[in-house]
């Protein structure tokens, strides 16, 4: 069981749903699905995607992922009342960020020039070196805590929150700003396309006729701290981050384990750490990418493990799969639902898959919820689960 109670005192988010928590809630309430065509760079792969609209013209010197991260990060620290002087006083503030794209030097133009022995500028390498999001943010804000990037593929955003909890629990940090960020980029688009898991239309999580995922981009950050730290700073508690657990499938590089053993372990351990039983989970914000394999594994386990009272939904039909940001975007949306006591419908769902036997939330609902579970699955057989409590 967790001994340290950890709370969320600030959240920030940018995705296809909007550039703030208010815009995100507005879009979700209106049931907006902002799916569009890819226009960020030349690409012959004609698959729809969820693009975030940056409020200002993109900077040529900054990676797009870092721009997305900056927006969500500043919203989160602003809500949590983390001031410039906090970085100069005795508070140990750390940053942990999940990403996939920002961890790779994948600038095609630079690489083409390098191959042809005619590099004009090493700017893209400098940009990459400055693009380790956590290290850059720690440096920019003069924080004294650690800055670490988590590169656990699609569960990175959740795992960053888990690391943040460990840092606070072990008194390595007083405050941790944890989250994830990823941009739409040709490498994952071509890669996911080669795996045959990109949908030609709007994705349909848990639906019988689901045919793949839509890639998306965005960022989300959460400010985590002990209640005592928050009280001292006069920061408002938004939700409790009750527990985090993760387990490996040890099965396959790209396919989730069919018996969902790793995911089951992660969920059971997170329940145990939070001292909860399975009936106390009011809703699950599932990974739910709308691929055949992911939704079958998740859905069948949920059906077996949880009772009918527990609502299940995926928000990927609104945001797309934002890779390293997905876990943290899901976490922010989970907290939003707990605060509003409201769930959006599982966009894209219309027909139950008999192989899963589960109907997710198929219309938006007001309801009383105290505890919610957010799950993330990733390449490499990673399964992570986080439980949040309403304040």
């Amino acid at each position: 069981m967790n001994t340290t109670k950890i709370f969320i005192t600030g959240v920030g988010i940018i995705s296809a749903l909007g550039n703030s928590i208010e815009e995100t809630y507005g879009s979700l309430s209106a049931g907006k699905v902002n799916l569009g065509t890819l226009d960020l760079f030349d690409c012959n792969i004609n698959k729809p995607c969820f693009k975030a609209e940056l409020p200002a013209a993109p900077s040529s010197s900054k990676m797009r992922t870092k721009e997305l991260a900056d927006i969500a990060f500043h919203q989160a620290i602003s809500q949590a009342k983390i001031l410039q002087q906090d970085s100069q006083n005795e508070l140990r503030i750390g940053i942990c960020c999940g990403t996939t794209v920002a961890s790779q030097l994948n600038n095609i133009s630079f690489y083409r020039q390098f191959r042809e022995n005619r590099v004009k500028s090493f700017g893209p390498v400098e940009q990459y070196l400055a693009g380790n999001i956590s290290e850059a943010l720690v440096k920019e804000h003069n924080f004294s805590g650690p800055g670490l990037n988590v590169v656990n593929a699609c569960s990175s955003g959740s795992d960053a929150i888990g690391i943040a909890m460990s840092w606070i629990d072990q008194d390595i940090c007083d405050i941790v700003i944890a989250g994830g960020a990823d941009e739409l980029n040709l490498v994952p688009i071509a890669g996911f396309n080669s795996l045959g898991i990109l949908s030609d239309s709007a994705c349909k999580p848990f639906d019988k006729n689901r045919n793949g995922l839509n890639l998306g981009e965005g960022a989300a950050f959460l400010v985590l701290e002990r209640e005592s730290t928050a009280q001292t700073r006069n920061a408002q508690l938004l939700a409790e981050c009750c527990s985090y657990s993760t387990a490996s499938d040890a099965y396959h590089l790209t396919t989730p384990r069919p018996d969902a053993k790793g995911l089951k372990t992660a969920i059971e351990q997170s329940l145990s750490k939070a001292n909860l039983n399975i009936d106390q989970i009011d809703f699950i914000n599932a990974h739910g990418t709308a691929t055949k394999n992911n939704d079958a594994v998740e859905g069948q386990l949920f059906k077996k493990l949880f009772n009918k009272k527990t609502k299940i939904l995926s928000t990927k039909g609104y945001t797309g799969h934002t890779l390293g940001a997905a876990g943290s975007i899901d976490a922010v949306l989970t907290i939003l639902s707990l605060q509003k006591q409201w769930l959006p419908k599982n966009a894209g769902f219309s027909e139950q898959d008999p192989e899963i036997g589960l109907t997710p939330v198929n219309k938006s609902i007001d309801f009383k919820a105290e505890f919610a579970l957010s799950t993330s699955l990733a390449f490499g057989g990673q399964n992570s689960a986080i439980i949040f409590r309403r304040i």
Partner: protein
């Protein structure tokens, strides 16, 4: 923390059942297998976690994927190369090879990733989230990075890491290992544990 075993690998190491894997993953698995020689990972010891730390990750494989994009087309790239270019592929291979079902984490930092891995391992051991942790450090040199070093402002720590190899240590709770303020050379640090 207390050391239970350590292992090292280079790009020439051969690993069974990993024909399709890239060198980055092969080195990570080889070093980890050597490090866990005395552990019974497949039967009794289930509460083992993995932390893979790296500065630059499998960028040789990323460049191979970019070769695919440039030489063929966006529609005919190799899914195998793509899946190996994902940073956590190596940790996934370690988990599969050793049948480890605990936590599996891959972290990057340009400043001091191995130190961060040890700090996190210590936190997991102290809070009983793991009984043992395999910490694996991997880097791979490549022409673009070697050339870029001459023109770009790489963090000073990086200068120790332009090499190809993997080093792994298995640790449990104890007081033998003290985490230093800075791990100047990750390979030497594990060697001298």
């Amino acid at each position: 923390m207390e050391l239970l075993g350590k292992g090292f690998a280079n790009k020439d190491d051969k690993v069974k059942n990993m024909r399709r894997a890239d060198n980055f993953s092969k080195m990570a698995v080889s070093a980890s297998i050597k490090a866990v020689t005395d552990l019974d990972t497949k039967n009794k010891e289930k509460n083992i976690s993995i932390i893979l730390a790296t500065q630059f990750g499998p960028h040789v494989t990323t460049f191979k994927f970019l070769d695919n994009l440039l030489d063929y087309s966006e529609n005919s790239v190799s899914p195998t190369v793509f899946s190996h270019s994902v940073h956590n592929a190596a940790a996934s291979y370690i988990a599969s090879a050793l049948e480890i079902i605990g936590q599996t984490l891959t972290i990057t930092s340009f400043i001091d990733p191995l130190k961060q891995a040890f700090i996190l391992a210590d936190a997991w051991l102290e809070t009983y989230q793991a009984e043992k942790v395999i910490i694996c450090y991997v880097e791979e040199e490549s022409a673009p990075f070697t050339e870029s070093q001459l023109h770009c402002n790489f963090p000073s720590y990086s200068k120790h890491c332009f090499t190809t190899g993997a080093a792994a240590a298995v640790v449990k709770k104890g007081s033998q290992i003290k985490i230093p303020m800075e791990v100047t050379n990750p390979f030497t640090f594990i060697e001298e544990l």
